[in-house]
Each structure stands twice: as structure tokens, then as C-alpha cells.
């Protein structure tokens, strides 16, 4: 696969320590396009070895607006289904540029390890120094040890290490889009984290046309109904969800976008610092990044102050436990005190409604979405590498447009018929 790809699949066997590489066959791309089309296919191939498959979409890391997404595919311990979770913020593109298009992680390590994926190399490293650390400390350690603050980390905290069914894979310091317990799978495999850094380069088949089309899309989106929308609260309202803006806005420092996503769907709150501060804070850890609207809505409903709710989310992110599940179970148990919620982390168990029933993480199920439309849009986003929330918000990124861009970028003829087939296949409807 020559264009928009590194042309490499890594097969990592944590049990034996073997790492093998395969080329990304162009025929596979013609048949499955990319993203979950291929992670699902790789999952099926290695199903007996309990794999977690990490993969990027065909357009991930390109100039297509919203091209932030990589995905993980595995069997969810919460739903029992082979499912897909989004890898967003900057981790999705870091994987794309790390020299691999897909990575199968199979088997179980005999002792804690972490994967260091960089420039076409996967190293299985001893995790003695990080196992037992919370998510924030582990990220700090890896970045300091490897010597680069831009390393992206997909990792677990104590929840994953201790086998909590609600463990989530975090991205750097923050909760990502994993609401399906993939953190538990990491822990079962004795896999503390995956460090990602890539300085690769993606060739484009028809660069000028591809980039011009992307620029035209940006221009249209900028002047459309999403103009000026920013932050997690406005994102929720735009998608028909509950309005928490007045509640949360006094804490908001700035809004942050995932890679090349025109609408910043994340908001950073300052908890131990003045949110109006423009200069660099002297406080080491002044706040946190909000990436998931659901726990906020629940905690607000429970009567928590915005600050307390954000503190809960901060502790969840450090512990590596899904905040939406914590909020749901705390509400059911009537636990409203911050300290009590934090104390309850080790004991919390499912089932939880927050895991949803779809094969796609309910992280992007905001507002009252039509289920079929939502599933279709998720599938298309997860195949092509488009931010799943942004894809729901924008009508300009039509399937036809995305396929045009995919064909321009790769020189492959990718048709609506193929996309329909791949969508049907990953959705289990073929």
C-alpha cells in the first residue's frame, strides 16, 4: 500500500515476545478500506489468541477535517461483543505516523510490560518502573525516560492492573473514548501502556487535488452552522444533548481540539488555578481535560458542583476507571461525596448502562440520536479515520466526499458499494 499508509502491520505476541511484520496488502484495502474494516478482519484472523487490534483509518493523519481517529478492536468485557473504541486527541495520528497502519497485540505477558512503538519499530519493554503507578505518573515517567513530551500514551491505571471490569484505556493523562472496558483487557495481558511516537511521512497519490479538496471542505465548514462552536458543552448542545454550559463554563480555561478537528470538542478546566490565567501556571497540575460529556451530565444531575464533578473525573483519569460508569454506579448507590466516590473505585463492578449496547463506544452517543443513523455514521468514521463526534456534527463530510478523498489520496477505486459492504460487515449485518 503506497499512499496514505506506512504499509506495515505489526503482530505482537506478548506471550512469546515475538514481533513479526507484514505488509499492508493493497487488495485488503480494496476489500476492507481501512480502520475497523481491517481491525475487525485482523481480529477474526487472530481470534483464538484474544487480540487487541489497534489501527488507523484510511484518512487518519491527513488534511481531511476531523482526521484524528485511530481505533482499537477487541472483545469488550462489559458487553461480551467484539467492539471498537476510538483513539482520539493526538494519539490517533501519532499511531498513524509511528510507522504502522495496524498492530495486533495477542497473548499475555508473563510479567508487566509496555510497548514502545516508534518509527516502524515495536519494542516490548519491562514495565517494572511503571506498573503500580497511576495513569498520570506513568505518562510522566515514560515521557521523561524516553525524553520527549510529545509521546502519546495509551495506558491503564490501577483499575486495569487490578482487574476492575470498568477499567478504561486513557490517552496520556485523560480519559479517552474507551467506555467498553478495554483497560481491563490491557491489565489481563499485563500490558501497562503503549507509548507512541512517529516522525513518519505519508505520501499522497494526487496531492494537489487532495489538498485543494480538503481546503474547500475547511472553508465550507468554517462558514457553516458550526461556525464559532467550541468546547465540550457546546458540542453536546449541537448534538441535541443536555446543556451544561452555564454550570461548567466558570471553570473552563481553554477549549482543545483533537488533531485537525475544526471544532474543539474537549475543554480544559482549571481546578486549582484561576481559569482566566493566560500565562503559564506555576501550579504543576492545575486542572484537567474534559473529553466525555456523559459523566458530567450525570454528576450534575446528582447535584455535584462543577468543581467537585471535575475532581471526580480527575481522580477517575488517574485511577484509569471509566468516569461515566463511576457516575452511573454512584448515582444508583446514592454516593455523592467526592471522597466516598474515590474510595469506592476498587469495589465498583458492572453491569453498567454506560457501556451501551452497540459495538461502537457509546462515548459518541450524545443527545437523542437516531440509532441506525448513528451506527452508520460511527461505522463510516471508524473505517475512514474521522473523529466520531465531529462526524455527527457536520453534514459536509458526506460519504461520497470522503470516498472521493480516499480515492484521490490512494489512487485506489473505493466505491460506495464497497463502503456499504464493509459497514454491513463490521456492523454484523452482512
Amino acid at each position: 500500500m503506497e499512499y496514505l499508509a506506512s504499509d506495515k502491520i505489526a503482530i505482537v505476541d506478548l506471550g512469546s515476545g515475538d514481533i513479526t511484520e507484514e505488509e499492508l496488502d493493497e487488495d485488503l484495502v480494496l476489500e476492507k478500506i481501512g480502520g475497523v474494516g481491517i481491525t475487525q478482519s485482523l481480529y477474526d484472523r487472530f481470534e483464538g489468541e484474544d487480540p487487541i487490534v489497534l489501527g488507523s483509518g484510511l484518512l487518519t493523519g491527513s488534511l481531511v477535517p476531523g482526521s484524528a481517529l485511530s481505533v482499537m478492536t477487541a472483545k469488550s468485557p462489559l458487553t461480551g461483543k467484539v467492539s471498537h473504541v476510538p483513539v482520539v486527541l493526538d494519539a490517533g495520528i501519532e499511531f498513524k505516523y509511528s510507522g504502522f497502519d495496524y498492530m495486533v497485540i495477542k497473548g499475555t505477558a508473563q510479567k508487566p510490560v509496555y510497548l514502545w512503538v516508534h518509527d516502524g519499530i515495536v519494542d516490548i519493554n519491562d514495565a517494572d518502573e511503571v506498573w503500580g503507578k497511576d495513569v498520570w505518573a506513568a505518562t510522566d515517567y515514560i515521557r521523561e525516560f524516553m525524553g520527549d513530551d510529545l509521546i502519546q500514551v495509551l495506558g491503564i491505571g490501577k483499575a486495569g492492573e487490578s482487574g476492575s471490569p470498568l477499567a478504561t484505556t486513557c490517552i496520556n493523562y485523560w480519559q479517552g473514548g474507551d467506555r467498553l472496558g478495554f483497560g481491563t483487557l490491557f491489565g489481563q495481558k499485563m500490558l501497562k501502556l503503549i507509548g507512541l511516537r512517529g516522525m513518519g511521512l505519508l505520501e499522497i497519490a494526487e496531492p494537489e487535488d487532495f489538498v485543494e479538496d480538503c481546503l474547500a471542505l475547511v472553508s465550507t465548514i468554517k462558514s457553516g452552522p458550526l461556525k464559532g462552536k467550541k468546547g465540550i458543552a457546546q458540542m453536546a448542545v449541537t448534538l441535541g444533548g443536555e446543556d451544561i454550559e452555564d454550570w461548567i463554563s466558570p471553570l473552563i480555561h481553554r477549549h482543545m481540539a483533537c488533531f485537525n478537528t475544526p471544532i474543539p470538542t474537549n475543554s480544559f478546566v482549571f481546578l486549582d488555578e484561576d481559569p482566566a490565567l493566560l500565562e503559564e501556571s506555576k501550579v504543576n497540575e492545575p486542572g484537567m481535560l474534559l473529553t466525555d460529556i456523559h459523566p458530567l451530565i450525570t454528576l450534575k444531575k446528582m447535584g455535584l458542583s462543577a468543581k467537585d464533578a471535575c475532581q471526580v473525573l480527575k481522580e477517575c483519569a488517574k485511577y484509569g476507571i471509566d468516569a461515566a460508569a463511576v457516575a452511573e454506579l454512584s448515582e444508583k448507590a446514592g454516593t455523592t461525596a467526592l471522597e466516598d466516590m474515590v474510595k469506592s473505585f476498587p469495589e465498583l463492578k458492572g453491569p453498567v448502562d454506560s457501556a451501551g449496547t452497540s459495538i461502537f463506544s457509546p462515548w459518541a452517543m450524545v443527545g437523542n440520536q437516531d440509532r441506525d443513523t448513528w451506527e452508520r455514521r460511527q461505522a463510516v468514521s471508524y473505517i475512514l479515520g474521522i473523529h466520531p463526534l465531529f462526524a455527527l456534527m457536520t453534514s459536509e463530510l458526506t460519504e461520497a466526499k470522503l470516498l472521493d478523498l480516499a480515492s484521490l489520496g490512494t489512487e485506489l477505486e473505493l466505491t460506495q458499494e464497497t463502503l456499504d459492504e464493509v459497514v454491513a460487515e463490521v456492523s454484523g449485518k452482512s
Binding site: L4, G61, S62, L63, P65, D90, I93, Y97, W136, D149, L150, N172, Y173, M199, G200, L201, L202, E203, I204, P207, V211, C214, L215, V218, S219, I221, K222, K230, H253, R254, H255, M256, A257, C258, F259, N260, T261, P262, I263, P264, F268, F270, L278, E279, E280, S281, V283, N284, E285, P286, G287, L289
Partner: protein
């Protein structure tokens, strides 16, 4: 004529960095861009944009613009920070002089944080 950046508007989406990398390499890559959102202080959420021009390094911080002339001594009392001396060996901004519609970073920025002055 030069690039003007509002560091406070920036959402660190990196579209400008990727577009600039494309301008340099005719492919998608980030290593040769002369415009780089600074993402290194993630826990503090302190971010801005750095731009390498012909004879200066522009640090568009949230609190305002700082221009460091390349080769001139910095204020020794000023606390060193990551945007003080970046990417000296990268090529400087040429305002995408080969493109009729102007610099790519401006066209690709979704929040209009970049303009030309």
C-alpha cells in the same frame, strides 16, 4: 508582509503544522514545518504557536506575541522556556510564495487564529 498569529484562539489542532509540512515535503509529515503549535505542557494546558521566520522566531503565546530575533541575545533574567529557541535548522516561512491563494496555514486554520499582515 508576514504571518500573524493569535495564540489565544488556537485550539492546538495542528492543521497548520500539517499543512506547512505538506508545503515542504509534498506529503503529510510534521518534521519540517516552520509553524508548530506548542503542545509540550499538556498538564498545564499552556499552548501557543511558534513560527520560524527568516530572521526571527515568533512565539504566539496566549498572553501575547513575543518576537526573538535569531542570533540576538535573550534577556538573561528571563526564565527559559520551550518556545525560546526552537527549530533553528528548519527552513523559515516563505509565505507559501508558490501558491496563488496564499499561505496554506491560514487557509487550513479552522478558527482563524492565523492571518497575514
Amino acid at each position: 508582509m508576514g504571518i500573524k498569529i493569535d495564540g489565544l484562539l488556537c485550539t492546538a489542532c495542528m492543521a497548520c503544522e500539517l499543512a506547512c509540512g505538506y508545503h515542504r515535503d509534498d506529503a503529510f509529515a510534521l518534521l519540517s514545518s516552520c509553524i508548530v503549535p506548542y503542545r509540550g505542557r499538556e498538564k498545564k494546558n499552556y499552548l501557543g504557536v511558534m513560527l520560524k521566520e527568516e530572521d526571527s522566531l515568533v512565539a504566539a503565546r496566549p498572553e501575547g506575541i513575543e518576537i526573538n530575533r535569531i542570533g540576538e541575545e535573550q534577556d538573561p533574567d528571563k526564565e527559559a522556556d520551550a518556545s525560546a529557541k526552537p527549530m533553528l535548522l528548519r527552513e523559515s516561512c516563505d509565505l507559501c510564495e508558490d501558491l496563488d491563494d496564499g499561505p496554506l496555514c491560514i487557509r487550513v486554520c479552522p478558527v482563524d487564529a492565523i492571518s497575514v499582515e
